[in-house]
Symmetry: C2
Subunit: 205 residues, 2 copies
């Protein structure tokens, strides 16, 4: 049984963690709007009701803040994707569900996905982001591979490509759909749906 001091300690740490989350969520909005390169700590603070100095009370430096935001995005992303694979009972159902799910994800938060690709690009130049980006990429790859495995189980066949290749191709489709969607194309979502539905069976020839 924890002592009252320990309870107080934990409650205080929780409060600190809650505040970090709160500030990170606000920062995430601004980051998604402006992108990594064009977002300053002051701009982030301006979109909250607090001062820019507060950010430095809760985060060691800008890199710490961005990293924390990206980790939070990762959690939201994994949650969003969860349950995509489970429902379908036939291969064709799974293939269409795959396309529908990815299209829905894109339609739901295109600006956050834009930020993801922004940060992933920056990670090729800034060491600080590399580990977090690699971890998120790994999770997304696992997610895609679970989809492929489910399709394999439903068809009784085995995939003829590696997990990384499967992820790379789905990611390519998703990224280009995002690009066109943000450019104002009304058909980008439907095309993404179709392309993903078609890609899944291709991985088994």
């Amino acid at each position: 049984m924890p002592s009252t001091a320990a309870v107080r300690q934990r409650s205080r740490a929780d409060k600190f963690e809650d505040r970090r989350r709160e500030l990170a969520d606000a920062a995430l909005l601004t980051l998604a709007e402006l992108g990594y390169a064009r977002t300053s700590l002051r701009t982030i603070a301006d979109n909250t009701e607090h001062s820019h100095g507060l950010l430095h009370y809760y985060f060691a430096d800008k890199s710490d803040l961005i990293t924390y935001c990206v980790q939070r995005y990762k959690d939201a992303c994994v949650q969003r994707y969860e349950g995509l694979v489970a429902e379908a009972s036939t291969p064709a159902e799974l293939a269409t569900a795959c396309g529908n799910g990815l299209a829905a994800t894109l339609a739901d938060a295109p600006l956050l996905h834009r930020l993801w690709y922004d940060v992933r690009s920056q990670s090729l130049f800034e060491e600080a982001f590399r580990d977090d980006v690699a971890e998120i990429d790994g999770r997304l790859q696992d997610m895609i591979w679970r989809l492929v495995r489910a399709y394999a189980d439903l068809t009784g066949t085995e995939p003829t490509c590696s997990p990384s290749a499967a992820y790379a191709m789905f990611d390519g489709l998703f990224q280009h759909a995002l690009q066109r969607h943000l450019a104002g194309s009304g058909t980008a979502l439907d095309e993404l749906r179709d392309h993903c539905r078609d890609l899944l069976p291709r991985l088994f020839v």
Copy 2:
């Protein structure tokens, strides 16, 4: 027949254009090294033997310089890719040539490709880059589609996907191979080779 004045005029304009190219090439090196966000006009000038003010004599502003650099990269890229499709005489040859060519391109100038993905990401936030990026994307898509068409002609079959989908998938493979290659993976190039060789036939099922 041009007058001497016209000849002189053209020669001067050419000289101006040559200088622009020269400065853009130097800028391209620095940009490839540091990425778009971390490169300033002064840093670019420091890597040449000239002053930073000179850049503003040859380019209206930073956006003009970057745009010009990207256009130059586009030309080099299209040239590099040209002739990839022509040599193969059997489907299998073409498929391996496709993988080999893309892997060779990646191995040849990974930093320039990194810059390309950087600028393409930035174009999702900065209006100024959007047109040039779209044009380059179009050229790359055409290049991939010529490859697919050549494969179709050799096999006597018809592709079962759209040009944009084919480009998106090859681009996904290429981008992820670049990521792993830059991260120090020794197998990224070989994997890209194999994945591309395998992808081409998949587009015809």
